[in-house]
Amino acid sequence: MNALICGAMLTLLTPILAQTPNVLVEKVTPVLVCDVLSDLAKFNGKIISIRGVVEGSNEGTWIIATRCAVRLVTDGYLWRTAIAIELPSTLFLRDDVDFQLDRAAIEWLDHKVKQMQYKGTTDTLWLTYIGLFETKKKLEVGVDPSGKRWPDGFGHLNTAPGRLLIKTVSDTFVERGKRR
């Protein structure tokens, strides 16, 4: 896994160093949510940097795109343009992730968002997450006896076609009054 991540970091990404308070964060060229969802296999199992709008409820966290030119469809099911955001330390997901969450960056983000007076009900929050992206070789879609179709993906209610186990976060931007 170490070799995989290091290899991915060297070949896929361009490391730059950017500074946030008290911590050096490895910053890599970000891709957009739509780019990842249009070529899941390319990014699967790799450390990537994703930029997008962050959505969160009492039950889940996602990085989303509101419009993608290409939409992911498997077995006739149109997947949401969302990637579930999860912690590498969430043990029920997997316990063999060989990097740790940059808690200082998460704290810095919380502080920054508060300082920017972000309002979840009206504003849109943009972030760049760096982490390990995972999807399934085959994204199954089930059909229950009532005919209702359901996705077997990631995150709350398995609705996302992929997940990012986050390492760090950066580049906060708030769009005022533009809730997507």
Binding site: S57, E59, L87, L91, F92, Y118, L157, N158
Partner: protein
């Protein structure tokens, strides 16, 4: 105190919770201290200090705190389910499961319907995440050697970083349990559905589901 009275019979076996982040439990264990009834929630993730595998004291303490609150929350939820208005949110189809039965099955974690566990969950800055539900799917034979993938259970994960089990009251915690139970009814193919809607990443819908449970079960 367990208002359902269930835990009086066998407190150690009624709620067989899976708790991650406890000392010695899984890769995130190690370290940790527990002073019985002196347990208090840590203010935030940052206060948990150390990283996974290197003595996650805060996470362990929070896991114990959540584990200590969960039986009472489940008990309150079971009591609420004795009210008609609350029970009618669940098992809306004919031949559906009794909601108290399904909740007890999830709490004991011994059936194919799934289980309740405690773990760390990510969050969006400025929001609080209490719990999540993920579906367990499995191939079910439909004859002629053919199989059909169906949702057979759910895993309900209670957040040990923040949310209702850290900073909420007992009603908030019971509401969280019933909200997730509603998802379980919709995602277990033969459970009988519920009026809790699939909220996915729809924040407003998630809030409206919570309000529906509060209004019908705790007013």
């Amino acid at each position: 105190v367990d208002p359902s009275g269930l835990s009086d019979t066998c407190p150690e076996c009624i709620y067989s919770l899976i708790v991650y982040g406890l000392p010695g439990a899984g890769g995130g264990g190690g370290g940790g201290s527990y002073e019985g009834d002196k347990l208090e929630a840590l203010p935030d993730m940052g206060a948990q200090g150390s990283q996974q595998g290197s003595g996650s004291i805060g996470i362990s303490a929070n896991s114990l705190l959540v584990a200590s609150r969960l039986p009472s929350a489940i008990g309150m939820a079971l009591v609420a389910l004795t009210k008609t208005d609350c029970a009618k949110l669940f098992s809306t189809e004919a031949n559906g499961l009794n909601p108290s039965y399904l909740l007890t099955q999830l709490a004991t974690g011994v059936s194919r319907y799934g289980f309740i566990q405690i773990d760390q969950l990510s969050y969006k800055p400025g929001t609080v995440r209490s719990a999540t539900a993920t579906q367990i799917s499995a191939p079910v034979p439909i004859g002629n050697d053919a199989y059909h993938t169906l949702g057979v259970g759910v895993i309900i994960t209670i957040n040990n970083i923040a949310g209702s089990f850290i900073s909420g009251n007992e009603i908030d915690q019971a509401v969280t349990i019933l909200h997730e139970l509603g998802h379980a009814f919709n995602h277990i193919y033969d459970a009988g559905k519920s009026l809790i809607k699939d909220d996915g990443e729809d924040t407003k819908l998630s809030e409206s589901n919570t309000k529906l449970v509060k209004d019908n079960c705790f007013k």
